[in-house]
Symmetry: none
Subunit: 216 residues, 4 copies
């Protein structure tokens, strides 16, 4: 097959890469296996992406772009914090169901160490962190959200919960862990998970320390 690689073939190459890197990590992934899975030659793989690192980066970019698109859909319309949180939770649960490979790759990347990982963190988390912190600060200013916790920390806890819920949707370890805690798979429990997480967050974001003291 000496035709130029079709768009689909290139897609399938990236998908195969995402899958393999997510499964075995950067070091463990096998370029030959990836090429074979996508039914293209190793030569073509190298022609397009230079080397293993370059190809890994391309797979990662593909994943992050998809995530960005998903978040962009959700955050394009203004909304209050509750509505906002609901939409993000739904969107990320769906993303984790439909693009399991992307999330797995992200999980693997985040677990890898070194300067490279640090640099990527800056690239990947910068936008989200500012978006969340901004929305939360606005909510606090409007009196919708508690004011006794730093908006940055609130954003941090919020994103932590979202990440873990995504990982639970598609990484083997985190899926099993979810089963142990909640019984059943994240898909089966998707609605319940969404609702309970929302309730959890609403309380956490709403009530101040002083109100607890009063109650006690």
């Amino acid at each position: 097959m000496l035709k130029k690689l079709s768009e689909e073939q290139l897609e399938s190459l990236l998908e195969a890469g995402v899958e393999e890197f997510a499964r075995r990590g950067l070091a463990g992934a096998n370029m030959r296996t990836i090429a074979d899975r996508a039914c293209i030659s190793v030569g073509a793989l190298y022609k397009y992406y230079g080397d293993k690192d370059g190809f890994f980066r391309a797979c990662l970019d593909r994943s992050l772009e998809a995530l960005d698109r998903t978040l962009a859909e959700v955050t394009s319309e203004e909304a209050g914090f509750r509505e906002y949180a609901r939409r993000i939770i739904q969107a990320l649960l769906r993303f984790s169901r439909e693009h399991a490979g992307y999330v797995r790759l992200y999980c693997v990347l985040a677990a890898s160490g070194g300067e490279e990982a640090r640099r990527l963190a800056g690239e990947i988390e910068g936008v989200t962190s500012r978006l969340y912190a901004g929305t939360i600060a606005a909510g606090q200013a409007a009196g919708d959200l508690r004011r006794d916790i730093d908006p940055a920390m609130l954003a941090f806890f919020f994103d932590n919960l979202l990440m873990m819920v995504q990982f639970a949707g598609c990484c083997d370890y985190y899926r099993e862990r979810f089963r142990l805690y909640c019984g059943g798979t994240p898909e089966e429990q998707e609605d319940r998970l969404e609702q309970e997480l929302l309730k959890f967050l609403e309380s956490a974001f709403t009530f101040e320390q002083s109100e607890i003291v009063h109650r006690t």
Copy 2:
């Protein structure tokens, strides 16, 4: 048993292994490097642990035992949920500071896929999940904690936040992510992190949905 590896030598082997596996992952880790770091021959390493997977398992066990000991200290005395949460947060923050390698290794393991990861999740998370769920259910029964969320889910969210806070303490990616969200390193902010997380959890675990509706 003429000349056997001393206890210290075996310890230093495991420490070197934890470090290397945490840094480079299972596939990327180099057995020679590990042996050299511990000043042990590769032959001895293989004699004691069979092969790379077996040694990885031993490193993991060592990490998990340390974590178990830390949690056991904290949970040995009965206490109400708030006190309990406070103690666990403190203990895990300290653990992540003092045993960075163990936590990193756990992070890497959790990111790895396959049957093996699933099996390990069962082994590792089983105890904790039952412990948390039990304590939370007791709190609900005693009227200390909200009753409108499944205790299993509450436990799940609780552990999620704890894991992420630990990762933030010692994994390169998560450390940098923390810096982006909160500015500064987890060590510098340890006290603040502890307090804010506690406040967050207290609200999340205390107030019911109906109370929010009332307030609005």
Copy 3:
């Protein structure tokens, strides 16, 4: 014959080939690089020359033809040995300056081993060797040149010196070697080199062993 490679394109292909083969040797040369340098497709290169060996051969032929032309100019007019030697030395020094790539290619070829190299030696050196030996034998018969050395050997030594002087002009190793012996580059010293070599050869070709014995 709709669109054929123009004469210039073929020339530039051969020039690029000579350069690349001279620089990296037959095995080290890269067909893609050659085609790119000449702004020709690899496909066309293969269409015209079959394979790498075939193209190498074509580059070599081009080099040898240029050398033949240069020698033909010089040897077309009859002359005595001294005049003859002077012309050849001048011509080859100029050739090595103006066609460095050809000489380098020849040097590389001569260093390569195998049946092929032997066969090429026959092709390349046959004419020159007969030409030199003939001229020298004539000089001996005329009493211009010493008679106590086999003309074949005299021709051999003569050609050896010419080859080395050419290599000194354009091959990195031999250039540097010249600098170590004589200080300066062959271009800077071209006149001196020519004169000294001529003096050297004149004595070597003139005086017989017996004359040395007499002197002593």
Copy 4:
């Protein structure tokens, strides 16, 4: 065979390397082939020499050391130029017969281009060039050698002839070229070659330009 590589095995590795590099050049040589020829594993080859370049360098060093030893034997005793030249010619002819691979390797190296080749020229030719030029200058001072040619140039021509005679002894191309000029192999003609070259050099080194003019 898990014993440490014996001295002989290491020798045979270097010999195999010299042979392969001489035959195919640095780029064309095959590390697997070399290891197989020496009946050792590729792993061991790489353990000892790091990479292909490092091993090439080791092979080259071995060759140069052998050459140095040979020249040292010859130049250890003081002698006049004629005796000196006779000894060197004999020694190098023998060297080229007995250590064909070393000379071939040297020939290949000298034909390779680039910065590396230049650097090696400095290393390799530095000693010889100074030795020759010194001896020749002494001969000129003593009135044994002609004074109308720069000793450096005389040394250069002298070494050129020696190199070519060596190449004629063991490089396929140069051997065939010798046959074309002189008929027969350099071994068959070794004595004659030695004597004729000596006569050639004696005249070249003895008689001044003015003497030729007188004769004419």
